[in-house]
Symmetry: C2
Subunit: 384 residues, 2 copies
């Protein structure tokens, strides 16, 4: 069932629905299980973990082979850090895990047309899976979205609507459009979160059944953070692991509502004023699932950090020079590790994992502008 | 050993070498075997197939988790076609399979500095693996190379050298630079080809041990085509499959030296004059391994097709609208399938596979220019 964390109402999942009648977001209680180890039959996609999705037997997976991404070790802030290369999902971002499950459910519901709003990655992902499912799709993005993401969305055949103003203006425009179609939002859909749990499953699988001690993750709307937390708790309940990793959530100093709420010990996340940041993917001034995000951070004995623009760009460069080419948003989380080390949070024998969320090729325009036209580091000929 | 197909000399692989003393390219006879099914121990990388690489036991893999890419089915020219999504390799192109093995060998040799020339994808791939191996790297590209690829190469920390003029001018510049360092060229290295064989292994693995009847592949320098052919022959010898698939090699009409040579029944591939093409990755006027390419096509009872610019762009769009977002070069091969159908080459029950080589995000600049500024199809708002 769908379950409302605010007014506590419950709804059957047999009917399409994206929020509660009281306008709160919904949680999913999908009677999922994690009894068996994943089968080897379909080795390459999140659908190995299907029994944990709690979908009906009749739902036919809309899949592009998302998941099963590499886990490699790189040196960050003097420590060996496990890097989950989730930017190698089919559309170049981790969102594909969520989109695959969400679009599968929408198709089962018989939805023929959807809208979503996005800073870019979720929009590209939803557009791709909608295309695979034959669902018509309109995606609202802010005009500031990287050219790479905008072109990608349009190429998948989605109607791309560029909205001037803030990310929040974009959300409002999408919500208005959703009044006469279905709002298939990664920020609202409980099924999207279900797909995100597979990141946690895979990390444990790749560590031979052991959970890391820490997971450092960017947080914007919270789908990755909540997916990780839910996934690790599934495994704890199933007896696969003995502890849930501590979650270090990272935001840009330019847009840090979760950090503010956590610091003030609030139960929900009030909206903040925000500035422009290289971490466009997590610049969410008022996350829908703020309450759940704070619960997950606290439930994992976690922490919240903020990182400056310079640190984000430097980490983007540093990861690339270690062969991992990601967009700036993905560099925010590893950029916080040096502070965690300085604060004495990480014990010498503790294993730290990060999830690298978006491929660098999505942000060519911004990367070129920053590194090759501002002359800060430009020892190479500018790439155009 | 290294083996020269021209003067027949043989060289030990214990010493670094990239061509024969007679200036021909070299073939590899690496005493490889394919006796066992791949182990499940390292499920996600080409190094599952290590025993078929013929490397010494001491060589330590330089790997980013390349390979293990999805295989999905899409409708192309009215047929169900198996699409190997090799653009989901770590740097966004299939070249990573070759780079992983080549750079591993260079590291074993103790090479500290390399040069390569590339239209972009191989350069990005070699730069990434060199970064992972701690090898200094200089990459020569034509000035016409997509901005996405150029930025990526520079971000990996390679010295990016942009050469005005043709792809061949770029090659000459790299060869000149190679006189005082090592020429780590995907177009010359037999170890690079060894890595490419894994595409064939994986396709057969994903088809439960059966080879497809046809593989339609773009051909420029020939590393993919030769890797496929060698890989399928390995499996034939090992008794895993009963037939090598027929290879349909595809070139742009603007640069079709292999097609010309094949049509004239030549044994080697003379250089041709060429024009600008959207398929920048296969615009090679004089492929180094022309002789081997023709042998492989004929050995597989294959054919060669050329495709027009319009067909390449239309297929780029059509694949994206079916959720597969690739660069135009990758669309050249599927664009030939309609001609193969029209020519009656494909029987109704024959299985056709294609390898999609490069991610669309590499070519954002060219895709935006073509689809959104020329107004040909632009029913969406332009992405920037």
């Amino acid at each position: 069932v769908f379950f409302c964390p605010s007014c506590r109402r419950r709804f059957s999942t047999s009917q399409p629905r994206w929020r509660c009648d009281c306008h709160s977001y919904l949680l999913g209680e999908f009677n999922a299980s994690l009894s068996h180890a994943p089968s080897g039959e379909d080795q390459r996609s999140i659908w190995r973990f299907r029994e944990s999705f709690g979908l009906s037997g009749g739902a036919r997976p809309v899949t592009l082979g998302e998941g099963s991404t590499p886990l490699v070790t790189r040196r960050i802030a003097g420590r060996e850090v496990l890097c989950k290369l989730d930017y190698l999902c089919p559309t170049g971002s981790y969102k594909d895990r969520g989109s695959s499950v969400m679009i599968t459910k929408l198709k089962e519901w018989g939805i023929g047309e959807i809208v979503d709003d996005s800073s870019g990655n979720a929009g590209a992902s939803v557009a791709a899976y909608a295309a695979a499912a034959g669902i018509r799709c309109r995606i609202f993005v802010p005009t500031s979205t990287s050219a790479g993401k905008a072109a990608q969305i349009a190429m998948y055949g989605a109607d791309l609507v560029r909205v001037p103003g803030t990310r929040e203006d974009t959300e409002r425009a999408a919500l208005q459009a959703a009044s006469d179609t279905f709002y298939a939002s990664h920020n609202w859909s409980p099924h999207f979160l279900v797909g995100m749990k597979t990141v946690a499953y895979e990390i444990v699988e790749q560590l031979d059944g052991k959970a890391p001690d820490w997971v450092v993750t960017p947080v914007g709307g919270g789908s990755l953070l909540l997916g990780l937390y839910d996934g690790f708790r599934d495994m704890l309940r199933a007896g696969w692991i003995t502890d849930v990793p501590r979650i270090a959530a990272v935001q840009s100093t330019r847009c840090a509502p979760v950090y503010e709420a956590w610091r003030k010990n609030l139960c929900d996340v009030p909206a903040v004023a925000k500035g422009e940041t290289a971490a466009e993917g997590i610049a969410i001034a008022a996350p829908v699932r703020g309450r759940s995000i704070l619960e997950a951070i606290r439930g994992s004995k976690g922490v919240v950090y903020t990182v400056e623009e310079d640190a984000i760009w430097q980490m983007t460069r540093s990861l690339a020079e270690q062969s991992l080419y990601v967009e700036p948003t993905a560099a925010a989380a590893p950029a916080a590790i040096s502070s965690m080390v300085a604060d004495g949070l990480l014990q010498a024998d503790e294993r730290v994992a990060i999830v690298l969320t978006g491929i660098g090729l999505k942000a060519t325009d911004k990367i070129v502008e920053h590194f090759f036209f501002e002359g800060r580091r430009g020892n190479n000929a500018p790439p155009r």
